[in-house]
């Protein structure tokens, strides 16, 4: 336990140094560690946004396979026509730590695409923060169990 704490501190220090060298003059938000380590989807949203309340929105589209051939690489694309999007987050409730990625949009178009890991069949939740409130939509992705026995 003690060793872990030490390790974490030294890692944090090196991260800060690395940021300083790679991204000069960076004035960005801090890494939302608690949200990414929370084992509960609502908890993670709460850590990230201070609330886990969101409005279901038809203006957010998720493109993801209905059945994932392999949970190690699941393409997920989120697009939204909502105005002034601050961030788009991807949350997988069935994963050990549901918060996967959060994109601060800095004025970019309401579109992100990435590839994520899914441990088992679960909903993919796309959360859009705009105008200070949360909007979300979800899609189930079935993760297949490999056919051949282990």
């Amino acid at each position: 336990m003690k060793r872990r704490t030490l390790l974490k501190t030294s890692l944090a220090a090196s991260v800060v140094m690395a940021v300083g060298s790679v991204i000069p003059g960076r004035v960005m938000a801090a890494y939302p560690k608690a949200a990414f380590e929370n084992k509960d989807a609502a908890g993670a949203l709460n850590d990230m946004f201070g609330t886990s309340d969101y409005a279901e929105s038809g203006d957010i589209k998720i493109k993801a396979p209905e059945i994932a051939e392999n949970g190690a690489v699941v393409p997920v694309q989120v697009s939204s026509s909502i105005a002034n999007i601050e961030s788009i987050s991807i949350v997988v409730s069935g994963n050990p730590t549901p918060m996967i990625a959060s994109f601060n949009m800095h004025g970019s178009e309401g579109f992100v695409s990435t590839r994520i890991k899914m441990g088992k069949t679960s909903d993919v939740l796309a959360v859009v923060k705009a105008g200070g409130s949360l909007h979300a939509t979800r899609q189930e992705v079935k993760v297949t169990i490999g056919g051949c026995g282990g």
Partner: protein, 118 residues
């Protein structure tokens, strides 16, 4: 063959502390255990090839496991098929679960009991 079933079932019955009557009908526990083995990916892994009610995303290599009592009025014929399907059809894709020791004789018995209920 039937002697083996009787001895195996008897020993299981003793193990789990149950009193076996003259009938060799499987207990609920045995059927549940058979189901566990049938669904387990490292053991029976039946769902890989067969549809079984209650099993998610089954394969379709083999026939759906339904109406098994009608298809196998004689339970020992079902057991023989699970034990070594190559006897009936040398080209079958079904692994010889008993003959190749994929399952123990006891496990083949339990899976047979479970499949026969479907």
């Amino acid at each position: 063959m039937s002697f083996r079933i009787i001895t195996t079932v008897t020993s299981i019955a003793i193990l789990i502390g149950m009193v076996l009557g003259t009938s060799i009908a499987a207990t609920d526990e045995e059927i549940a255990e058979g189901k566990r083995i049938a669904f387990n990916r490292k053991l029976g892994n039946c769902l890989t090839c067969h549809m079984i009610v209650g099993g998610e995303l089954p394969g379709n290599i083999g026939p759906p496991l339904i109406a098994m009592k009608a298809r196998f009025p004689d339970k020992s014929a079902l057991r023989a098929q699970i034990f070594d399907a190559t006897v009936k059809n040398p080209q079958t894709s079904m692994p010889p679960f008993g003959k190749h020791g994929i399952l123990t004789d006891k496990e083949v018995d339990l899976v047979t009991e479970y499949i026969h209920t479907l």
